[in-house]
Structure formats: structure tokens, C-alpha cells
């Protein structure tokens, strides 16, 4: 590892001397987890206009359109979230010295530091490496952090502890030659059971779900293997590759899958390069045949068995004796905290304690206090969680009050872990280059308001989950919560207004295997009111013990949407300009220098009208695919409806050129290709390419789908095409007003 970091340091020097191409350097740093961050293209919108940031070495880059002097984000892998006190101490030091004293926990159990200077990274990597932490392949087209249930080994419902297997997978694939030639990232997750959501295997490229079987009277461990899941703009639920695979085959199977993906996965079109697209294209049976063939051809590797042998040895994680002799008097809030933040381990004398971190953040000082607490009570038993929290495991019941008091002193006893107030959020516009709306600003607001109301919530209301992403890349995992939001924007008159698309009915259960579908776009400033309305409706209409998702399914999204309709409206700017500024920001939201009224002629009205009907068509289509009781024929019809929505969106854009343009699908498609694709008008950096391919694919088949999966996908794709059409329309308006691009689009950095 030391030699690799030295080499990276040299590469930084060479880039400064322009002896390494910027694209090559970008991939080199990404493979070391050093990402770009918002505004690193050297431009920033100040609410009035886009200004150049006068960095001292302006023009020296660390990647295409990425200023060398601009700070970046460092992602640090924490395999299956397991972290020792010593490692946390080093992370705290690094956050203080190279970042801003804040450690951010991601939804994939990584730690991220922001505002890091690229020239500091080699020193930081050395310090982390000395504590056994790697940043290698934390980003880039490689195997990302291997995640696993934070409760592994102590959980009430698990079949066995997946931690040693996750560790083996991480170590085996890290830097492995067979994972170096992927077209995109590859995410792996382990789950100890099939029913719960902690492992989230079904939303991963590759998921291992613990399974056992009895062979000749002896219990054999293994995994149900699923492949091709993923969230992002077009979410896929993973497909079953093997219903049972013995543990000894875990590593060779992973290797074989990697080889198939490296060989056949898309390389040129990033938007189609994840393994989910390959699985969908080939079909799971053909994919399995290819993996089996690779397995046959693999050279045996002694490590396959070594790791498994190691996994079977027990790893003692707990302190043998309690730290305290009797219970101290608890500081205030103990009862409430115990209710939501304490989990009874399978081992009756122990509990696990969740440290609820607001928006996944803690300070270096808190982290250092936590290391003292760990050493006193639980040794090294800490995990990061996929809900952006921390979990202290193996706490002796006897120590609970005293532990609480120590956490209280460190300001780490926020209650409500895993409840409605524990809102998950990706970084969004705070630091992410792709953020459209302020997911963290909104989440902070929601947390504060829900905490203020929390005393009114009964147990079922407390169980409602909320997740927020700043764009449709889904790093906040909005698809798998009861109430999900992702950032988007809309034109109102000649202004842009931050919005969030509302999704309802996703679920964590079954390894996050049920995704919510879009209801409609809500202005950012009305999201808290929307959440309140939804909770009130749910409270009033639920049947005995009915959870949120079944309520959504029973009442129906159409009816719920009808009751939210008034919240989707935006008051005119002159009436209330607060709608035109995002949460926790002060700048007018991306309206740039568009002249008021310049964009508001008849043609615009026609475009907006067309886009609105496209949205309503796609909403109708989503109602059909989401209804498990409708016939196959009806489901297939939804695909045709989705296609018609795309045609309408394209027609809307064509109307900006000619209000009398013909509206039959064939003419719309060819005119759109000529006027928006050939001219590149539809494309803006990373927007447009995949959306255009969705329209093409739908047009080729006339909107016909083969099965429910394809129909569902088409509906998602139609939604994205409409979003891209909105974005294109905004750019046209902006161009009419003579403005320059407002959103600083750049290389994706989804977690």
C-alpha cells in the first residue's frame, strides 16, 4: 500500500508539471477515492449570475473541467462498516487537519471528508493506511465498499454472521485483476436474512443473502445469490442467480461474475454500463450460463478456501466483563432514547446502541470522545450503518445507563434512531456536483419539524421512513423508503423553482426489494407541509395496525395525489419569492439573468401544457404497473402509455420551434431527432444521452413491452425523459434570456 501511495504522490507532482493527461489523472485519483466536489469547474452561480472563481492556479486541472486548486471529497472505505477505536481516532485527526472537522457517514457505510486539497491526500492516505484503512477503489469503475448488515453477529433474525464473509469478499476483490476493467462501479452487499432490510442485497449489483441447508444431517452454510439490482435513475430489483450457493463457492462465483461483467458489460455509454443493464439485456438464465461457464474455466485459487476457513473461526468482539458495577442515575431522555436507540441482541446479556447522527455527520471531537467510550464499554465493536448512523455493539446491559451518560456528555444521545425523524440524505447541492435541489437543507428542516411533532406520533407513525436524494441518482436511497424525495427543478413563468419528486410506497423489508413510484413534483418549500399532510391522511385513514406502505397500496396513489394537488402549485414570484430560493440557501435558485417575462409567450404555454400532459400520462402508467392485481395485458399497456408520455414531452419541446408542429409519433420522433438530437440541443453534459436512448428504444418497439419488468422500466425511463425535457426547456428559456448555464454539471460522484 505504501508504494502505491508514493506513486500517487508522484502522479500529483507530474500532473502539476502537465506530464500526465488530465483524464488519466482523474481516473488515477478516483481510484484512490479522491472525488471532485461542487464548484470545482471554477464557476459558481451567485444568485444573479455565474461567476468565475479566481483560484490562484486557474487552468491547472486535476481532470476535465476540474480545477486543481478546488477542494474535493475523499471517500474512505469501511468494509461492512466495521471500525476500531484506533481507526476512528485516525479518521477524526484527518477530518480535523485535512477537512473541516466533520466526518460524514454515507448510505454505503463509507466515511467521507469534504473540502480536501488534492495535495494533502497522500499524507492522509498514509495515516489511514497505517491504521488499516484503505481508500483504494473507493470510487472509479471498480468494486466499491462491500456493505453488510450492521447487526451481523448479534441479530435476532439472522441465519449466521455474514461479517467474515464480507471481509473475505472485500480482501479478495480489492485490486484483483478481474475487477479492473469494468465499465462502471460494482456494489456488493451481504445480508444475514431475507426478510429484513438492513443488508439491502436486492438493490445491489451483487447481493449475498445468508441461507442454510441440511446435507446428510449436517447444516451447510451458503448464500442465495442475487445480481443486477440497483437504484439510480432507473432502479432494478436484483434477480436470483442461485437459490443456494455453498459458502466455499462465494469467492469463485464473485470472480466469475466479475469476469462476465468486465467482458460483456457496456463500456462506452456510462448510463447503460451497470451490471443491471447487462442482466436485463441477456436475461438471468443466459447470465447464469455465462457465469457457470466462467466458473468452469477459472484457475483454482487457494484463497477461496482460506478465507472460508478463516470465516468459520469465531472472532471475539466483546469485552468479557462489564465496565461498571451498578447502574448510575441516567441523564434526561434516557427512557425515550432506550425505546428507539437500543436493540436487544440475540445474546440476552448484551444490547446494541445506535448513535443517531443528524444527516450522518459527527465532529472530530465527538469521534474522539466516542473512541474513549468504545474502549471503556465495547472495545472495538463499532459499525457504520446504511442509515448514516453508528452502532455500538456488545454493550453489557449493566453498563447501559453509564454508557448513556457518557454519550450524553459527548452530545451523542439523539433519540429517534430508525424512526420518522431519522431522515436519510445524500450530500446534494451542498457538495455534490450533480445535486439539483438541497437534500441536506430539506432533510435538516424535516428533522427539526418532525422532532418538534414527535410526541404526537404513535408507534406506526414513528415507523414511517423518509429518505431524500438531491437528484435521481438515488444516493439517499429514496426508492426504498415509505416517503422518498429526489431533487428536480421546474420552470414557473421565467423563473426556476427547486422541487422534489415525491415517491411513495417503497420498503426496506425483503432486503429493500420494493421500490416506490413517483407521485409528482412538489416545490421544495412545500415538502414539509406535504409530509405533514401525508402523515395526517395516513393517521386518519389507516386501519388497525396498518403500516404506511399497505395504506398507500390500499388507498391508491391516484387518490393520494388528488389530496396533495394544491401543494404542487407555486405562487407567482411577485407574491412569494421564498419559493424561488432553496432550503438553507440565500441565493435565488438558478434563475440567472433570465429576463422576467421574456420566456412567457404562447409557445411556452403550449410546451408546458404538453409537458404537463406527459407527466399525467406517465403517472397513470405508474399506477398500472404498481398495481399487483391488474392483468398482464394492462401492465403491458402501461408501457405504451409511457411511450406516449415521451412523445408528448418531445412534442412539447418541438412546440418551442413551431407551435403547429404535427403530433403523430412518427413525425414527432423524426422531427425531434433532427431538431434536438442532431443539433445537440437536448444534451447538456451528462443529461440527455441516456434519456434519448430510452425514447429511441421505446419508439423502436412502438412502446410494446415483453413483461412486467420491462413495462416498469419503461415507466421509469419515461419519467426521466420528461425530466430531461424539462431541463432542456429551461435551457432554451435561459438562452432566450441570454443567460449562461447555471447548474455546474460535472462528472458524477454518486455514492
Amino acid at each position: 500500500m505504501a508504494a502505491e501511495i508514493d506513486e500517487f504522490e508522484v502522479q500529483i507532482k507530474l500532473r502539476k508539471q502537465l506530464k500526465i493527461d488530465e483524464k488519466v489523472f482523474a481516473e488515477l485519483r478516483l481510484r484512490r477515492g479522491a472525488y471532485g466536489q461542487r464548484y470545482d469547474n471554477g464557476h459558481r452561480y451567485d444568485g444573479i449570475r455565474t461567476q468565475e472563481i479566481p483560484f490562484p492556479r486557474r487552468g491547472l486541472t486535476k481532470g476535465p473541467d476540474t480545477e486543481f486548486d478546488a477542494p474535493g471529497m475523499q471517500r474512505i472505505k469501511i468494509p461492512f462498516g466495521k471500525m476500531s477505536a484506533e481507526q476512528l481516532e485516525v479518521l477524526a485527526d484527518c477530518a480535523e487537519e485535512y477537512s473541516n472537522g466533520i466526518l460524514h457517514i454515507t448510505t454505503r457505510q463509507d466515511v467521507q471528508l469534504h473540502f480536501v486539497d488534492i495535495e494533502d491526500t497522500p499524507d492522509m492516505h498514509r495515516r489511514l493506511g497505517a491504521a488499516g484503512i484503505t481508500t483504494r477503489e473507493a470510487c472509479g469503475n471498480s468494486v466499491r465498499n462491500v456493505t453488510g448488515c450492521p447487526l451481523a453477529g448479534i441479530c435476532q433474525t439472522e441465519l449466521f454472521d455474514i461479517s467474515p464473509y464480507a471481509r473475505a469478499e472485500h480482501l479478495f476483490l480489492l485490486g484483483h485483476p478481474d475487477v479492473q476493467d469494468f465499465g462502471r462501479k460494482f456494489k456488493i452487499a451481504f445480508s444475514g436474512c431475507s426478510g429484513e432490510g438492513c443488508g439491502r442485497a436486492m438493490m445491489h449489483d451483487l447481493g449475498f443473502i445468508a441461507a442454510t441447508r441440511v446435507v446428510e444431517g449436517r447444516e451447510e452454510r451458503g448464500f442465495r445469490v442475487v445480481v443486477g439490482g440497483g437504484l439510480g435513475p432507473v432502479p432494478h430489483v436484483a434477480k436470483e442467480l442461485y437459490d443456494f450457493m455453498p459458502e466455499a463457492r462465494m469467492l469463485p462465483v464473485s470472480q466469475a461474475i466479475s469476469r462476465v461483467y468486465a467482458r460483456l458489460g457496456e463500456k462506452r455509454n456510462r448510463a447503460k454500463a451497470r451490471v443491471k443493464f447487462l442482466v436485463a439485456k441477456l436475461g438471468i438464465d443466459e447470465f447464469r450460463r455465462l457465469v457457470d461457464a466462467e466458473l468452469e474455466a477459472l484457475e483454482p485459487d487457494a484463497r477461496w478456501q482460506q478465507w472460508v476457513d478463516d470465516a468459520e473461526q469465531s472472532h471475539c468482539e466483546w469485552r468479557l466483563a462489564p465496565a461498571t458495577s451498578d447502574g448510575a442515575r441516567p441523564d434526561p431522555g434516557f427512557e425515550e432514547w432506550t425505546e428507539t436507540n437500543v436493540y436487544d441482541q440475540r445474546q440476552p446479556e448484551f444490547v446494541a446502541v445506535t448513535i443517531n447522527l443528524p444527516l450522518g455527520d459527527l465532529t472530530s471531537r465527538q469521534a474522539r470522545s466516542l473512541t474513549d467510550i468504545m474502549r471503556r464499554y465495547v472495545s472495538d465493536a463499532l459499525r457504520t450503518t446504511v442509515d448514516q448512523n453508528l452502532l455500538l455493539r456488545w454493550v453489557h446491559r449493566q453498563d447501559l445507563v453509564s454508557l448513556y451518560n457518557d454519550l450524553y456528555d459527548a452530545k451523542l444521545t439523539l433519540s429517534g434512531a430508525g424512526t420518522i425523524t431519522d431522515v436519510t440524505s445524500c450530500p446534494g447541492t451542498d457538495t455534490c456536483k450533480l445535486g439539483i435541489s438541497s437534500s441536506r437543507g430539506l432533510s435538516a428542516e424535516l428533522r427539526a419539524r418532525l422532532e418538534a411533532r414527535s410526541l404526537q406520533f404513535d408507534a406506526t407513525l414513528k415507523d414511517v421512513t423518509i429518505k431524500v436524494s438531491g437528484c435521481n441518482n438515488s444516493c439517499g436511497q429514496h426508492h426504498i423508503s415509505d416517503i422518498g424525495f429526489y431533487g428536480s427543478s421546474r420552470n414557473v413563468g421565467s423563473y426556476k423553482v427547486p422541487h422534489f419528486l415525491l415517491l411513495l410506497g417503497g420498503a426496506l423489508e425483503d432486503n429493500a426489494g420494493n421500490y416506490g413510484l413517483a407521485i409528482g413534483a412538489i416545490p421544495s418549500k412545500r415538502v414539509p407541509e406535504t409530509v405533514d399532510r401525508l402523515l395526517d391522511l395516513y393517521s386518519a385513514e389507516r386501519e388497525d395496525g396498518e403500516a404506511f406502505r399497505p395504506w398507500v397500496m390500499r388507498v391508491g396513489k391516484k387518490a393520494i395525489k388528488g389530496k396533495l394537488q394544491d401543494l404542487m402549485a407555486v405562487p407567482p414570484y411577485e407574491q412569494d419569492d421564498s419559493f424561488y430560493v432553496d432550503w438553507h440557501d440565500a441565493r435565488e435558485y438558478s434563475i440567472g439573468d433570465i429576463g422576467v417575462g421574456e420566456c412567457a409567450g404562447e409557445v411556452i404555454t403550449l410546451t408546458e401544457f404538453s409537458l404537463a400532459s406527459a407527466e399525467s400520462k406517465v403517472f397513470d402508467a405508474s399506477l398500472i404497473v404498481d398495481d399487483p392485481t391488474v392483468t398482464r395485458e394492462r401492465v403491458l399497456e402501461s408501457s405504451a402509455l409511457a411511450y406516449r408520455a415521451m412523445v408528448l414531452a418531445a412534442l412539447g419541446l418541438l412546440k418551442t420551434k413551431d407551435p403547429d408542429t404535427r403530433s403523430d409519433p412518427e413525425t414527432v420522433f423524426s422531427d425531434f431527432e433532427r431538431q434536438f438530437i442532431d443539433t445537440q440541443l437536448f444534451f447538456e453534459r451528462y443529461i440527455g444521452n441516456s434519456e434519448w436512448s430510452y425514447f429511441q428504444a421505446a419508439h423502436e418497439t412502438g412502446g410494446v413491452a415483453r413483461d412486467r419488468d420491462e413495462a416498469r422500466r419503461r415507466v421509469e425511463e419515461a419519467q426521466l425523459f420528461i425530466e430531461a425535457s424539462h431541463a432542456c426547456y429551461m435551457r432554451l428559456c435561459q438562452a432566450q434570456g441570454g443567460g449562461s448555464p447555471v447548474l455546474p454539471w460535472a462528472v458524477a460522484n454518486p455514492t
Binding site: 472563481i53 487537519e97 473541516n100 472537522g101 452530545k411 438553507h584
Partner: protein
């Protein structure tokens, strides 16, 4: 100068003020405006970060290329904390002096802002300085012996020949080497 502190450039420096009694969000529009106008001398301003949801955190941060300025409460007291982000050209004492000038500029400007009028009053007789670089400035007796004269020189460079008392901040050895400076106070005497 002790070997322990050679090459120190990363400095944190805090100026205290009584709690202003206004929400941290009040600083957000002010910092955005400063960025728009590039309103601070010798600094390239470009971002505002918001950690107000974390207790005893940097709160709201104005990020510049050279340093970050946060509404810090990490030691339980409110103040403006400057954190030097990149290396400069001078010696450590120059860096401390430069950072002090920057933080005084920020303090003056905040106090002068009409939106905060009468709510903020920084105590310019007290400065806390941290060596934000454990590799070059370890939190040891030797480290402090090397840091102390650098701090005194830097403060005199900025404030002139005033009397001052520099004491080592007693903290967790894992924390950073830090000095507390009181101005207008004899080196060994009481204020």
C-alpha cells in the same frame, strides 16, 4: 525554533464572542453576499457549508481557498475560527500573523453588518491558536516550547508591542497543540 515544529503552516485561530443570540442561519445570506462580491482582501471566497445541525460543530462555514471561517463552538464557546487550508510561503509565525489578520478582517466585517448590528462583539484581547498539523507540531512539551515564541512573534507583528500572556491549552494529548493568548496582560501576572 524546535525541530518538532519545522514547516508548520496549518493553523487554526479563534476569536471569541458572547453567543450572539441569533440563529446561525442568519449568517448564510451574509456569507453568500461576501462570495458574490469577493468581499475579503487576499482571499478567494467560493462556498458556504452548513453544519448547524451538529452540536458544538463548525456551524456555518465560509470557505475560501486559503482558509475556512466557521461559527465555531467546538470548545463549548462561540467564536469565529479560521482554519488555514493551504500552505503559504512564509514561516510558521508569518502564517499565524496572516491568519490572525484574516480572522480580524472577518470579525470587523461581521460586526459591521447591519443584519447583525449590536449582536456580535468579538473579544480582541483573547486569541486561541492551534497547530493543525500533528505530524509537524505534536502536542508535546517540546512542541509547545517551539510554538510559544512563534505565537508571541506573530501576535506582536499584528498588534504591535502590547503586553501579552501565552499559555498552553490543557487538553487531551490526542488533541492539537494549542496556545491561549491574552493581550494587555503581563506575561506572568494577572489581568
Amino acid at each position: 525554533m524546535g525541530r518538532a515544529i519545522k514547516g508548520l503552516q496549518r493553523i487554526c485561530l479563534k476569536l471569541y464572542a458572547p453567543e450572539p443570540g441569533i440563529g446561525d442561519q442568519a449568517f448564510v445570506p451574509i456569507f453568500h453576499e461576501w462570495i458574490r462580491d469577493q468581499a475579503l482582501e487576499d482571499l478567494v471566497l467560493f462556498d458556504v457549508a452548513d453544519y448547524a445541525h451538529v452540536p458544538e460543530s463548525p456551524g456555518i462555514v465560509l470557505v475560501t481557498h486559503e482558509a475556512s471561517f466557521s461559527l465555531d463552538r467546538s470548545d463549548g464557546l462561540f467564536g469565529i475560527m479560521a482554519q488555514r487550508r493551504v500552505n503559504g510561503s512564509g514561516e510558521a509565525s508569518d502564517m499565524i500573523a496572516t491568519t490572525l489578520r484574516h480572522v480580524l478582517q472577518v470579525a470587523d466585517k461581521l460586526e459591521g453588518d447591519h443584519r447583525l448590528a449590536g449582536k456580535l462583539a468579538f473579544d480582541r484581547s483573547r486569541v486561541m491558536i492551534e497547530a493543525n498539523d500533528r505530524l509537524r507540531a505534536p502536542n508535546t512539551d517540546e512542541g509547545y516550547r517551539a510554538l510559544e515564541p512563534l505565537v508571541s512573534t506573530a501576535i506582536r507583528n499584528v498588534f504591535g508591542d502590547s503586553t501579552l500572556r501565552v499559555t498552553r491549552v490543557t487538553n487531551d494529548p490526542r488533541d492539537r497543540l494549542a496556545a491561549d493568548v491574552r493581550l494587555g496582560v503581563a506575561a506572568t501576572g494577572a489581568p
